[in-house]
């Protein structure tokens, strides 16, 4: 007879809301976000840590959701691309990406935006080298990266209050 495969309770603060659900212990955070919580903003590009499209912030640290067991995020705040907009208004990162043409097919954008949020939270005015290094773990097959770098750089240069592009 097959061994029992007990599920476990997963609870975390996803985009500010506490969620609690029953999951299989081997489920990745990406599966829980996309399949259980229907937060399909985070993408699965490769499933092996290579592309960065699944990047979310767990306890303010960037993580590959495809290589993170959901239970590793137990009890912690999780921020996904859906949590960036507040009160129906896009975040400054999202507005800058749009204004600079940094989104074409958009598949990399959720990961790129989370990488941007992480970088700016530690280094509010990053130079080009720091920006390129931060997004070096993110593959974009459309933009050629230049416009993404410009979008992030613009956020660093704008002083608070006048950050709306």
């Amino acid at each position: 007879m097959d061994k029992p495969r007990p599920k476990q309770i997963f609870s975390a603060q996803v985009n500010g809301q506490w969620v609690e659900l029953l999951i299989a212990p081997q489920e990745t955070l990406l599966e829980v976000l996309r399949d259980h919580l229907e937060l399909t903003g985070s993408k699965e590009g490769c499933g092996e840590g290579v592309c960065g499209a699944c990047t979310v912030l767990v306890d303010n640290q960037p993580r590959r959701a495809c290589l993170t067991l959901a239970l590793e995020a137990q009890g912690l705040p999780v921020l996904t691309v859906e949590g960036l907009a507040q009160g129906g208004e896009l975040s400054r990162e999202q507005r800058s990406f749009i204004a600079h043409g940094a989104i074409q097919c958009g598949y990399c954008a959720p990961g790129m935006l989370m990488a941007t949020r992480d970088l700016l939270s530690r280094q509010p005015t990053p130079g080009e080298e720091a920006i390129r290094r931060q997004i070096s773990g993110h593959v974009c097959r459309c933009t050629g990266y230049a416009k993404i770098v410009e979008a992030v750089a613009a956020l660093g240069q704008a002083s608070p209050g006048e950050d709306r592009p």
Binding site: P25, Q26, G52, E72, A115, R133, S136
Partner: protein, 336 residues
């Protein structure tokens, strides 16, 4: 891509963790950052019945402690924490270079650990592939089979290599590790911890946990560096790497340690190539001679087990070694 079923255990403390591992043995795998383990689990290269998360142990097992005659680095220290530690950034730039060369900032720098890097599996072009890709090939030594694909008909062992950037540099630094089980603890020099066998690259018993890395205190006149050659500047495992630790006192080399990555199942320590440097000034000519000897010593290890041709990688050994020695010497003499 989904993971196969396993149980998830998250012990609260070290004693509990060690008891659990003693109970489960080989059937369970430690989980640190997961950036090596979970990829292999997805590819069907490893199928643990349980993973034992080390997340609750991190506060106790991370950080760098300066003791009288050595440094003690917790195995759970993240790559980011380690390479930004003021002492490492200032006095062991080679280690900071190696750790920052791992993958990419948002991939594993903030969640993967130095211990996980040392315990990561050796790699090979024919092994680190999806189950579908591998289905066309007979299982190799590392998968419990009887052959080595790049090794060819005469191969009698696994020819996968150590591509862990941290492991190569820490070996060059002469570091050792502390392994603990509920039965006790032992310390092993990294040159013994890495067995040189691709089938079982680390001397780590099923009930043991790597808890600390012990480093010699950097002495005056020590220069360290890490040179990595890879397809891209980020995200890629090394195709070849060299970690160097050179000590220069009174203008003469008094200690020269060099390890290569992506060549052998363990970081390849090139002692016979480096020993002639002892007692000599680190002039470009002397360093070039040592580098040329390193190239001759490493040549027999080169086979088609990575994504760049073996001939190119063999040619690059003296180049990488010369660059590493030159930089290490420059730093030993007070440069940056």
């Amino acid at each position: 891509m989904s993971l196969p079923y396993f149980e998830y255990l998250a012990p609260q403390g070290l004693a509990e963790a060690l008891e659990l591992k003693a109970l489960w043995g080989q059937r369970a795998a430690w989980l640190s950052g997961g950036s090596d383990l979970l990829v292999r689990a997805k590819q069907g290269l490893v199928s643990p019945e349980a993973v034992i998360s080390l997340k609750n142990l991190s506060p106790k097992l991370s950080g760098l402690r300066e003791e009288a005659d050595h440094l003690r680095l917790g195995a759970q220290t993240t790559l980011h924490q380690a390479l930004n530690h003021p002492l490492i950034a200032r006095e062991l730039p080679g280690l900071a270079e190696a750790l920052s060369a791992i993958g990419a900032p948002t991939l594993q720098q903030r969640v993967a650990t130095v211990g996980g890097n040392l315990c990561a599996q050796t790699r090979c072009l024919h092994y680190n592939q999806s189950a579908l890709w591998r289905a066309g090939l007979a299982p190799c030594f590392k998968l419990g089979g009887e052959l080595c694909h790049p090794g060819g008909a005469t191969a009698d062992r696994c020819r996968s290599t150590c591509q862990s950037d941290g492991a190569v540099m820490l070996t060059a630094l002469g570091a050792s590790v502390v392994l603990q089980s509920s039965a006790g603890q032992r310390a092993l020099a990294l040159s013994d911890f890495f067995t040189g066998q691709g089938e079982r690259p680390q001397d780590l018993a099923p009930d043991e946990l790597l808890t600390h890395i012990i480093l010699e205190r950097p002495e005056p006149g020590l220069g360290t560096t890490y040179i990595k050659m890879a397809s891209r500047g980020a995200m890629d495992f090394p195709l070849l790497s060299a970690g160097a630790a050179l000590r220069v006192e009174g203008g003469l080399v008094t200690s020269a340690r060099l390890a290569l990555g992506a060549v052998f199942a363990a970081p390849l320590v090139l002692k016979t190539a480096m020993d002639p440097l002892l007692g000599l000034p680190p002039t470009p000519e002397n360093l070039a001679q040592a580098a040329a000897q390193a190239g001759r010593d490493a040549a027999p290890f080169m086979i088609e087990n990575h994504s760049a041709p073996a001939a190119w990688r063999a040619q690059m050994v003296p180049v990488a070694v010369e660059r590493a020695l030159a930089k290490a010497a420059q730093r030993a003499l007070g440069g940056v």
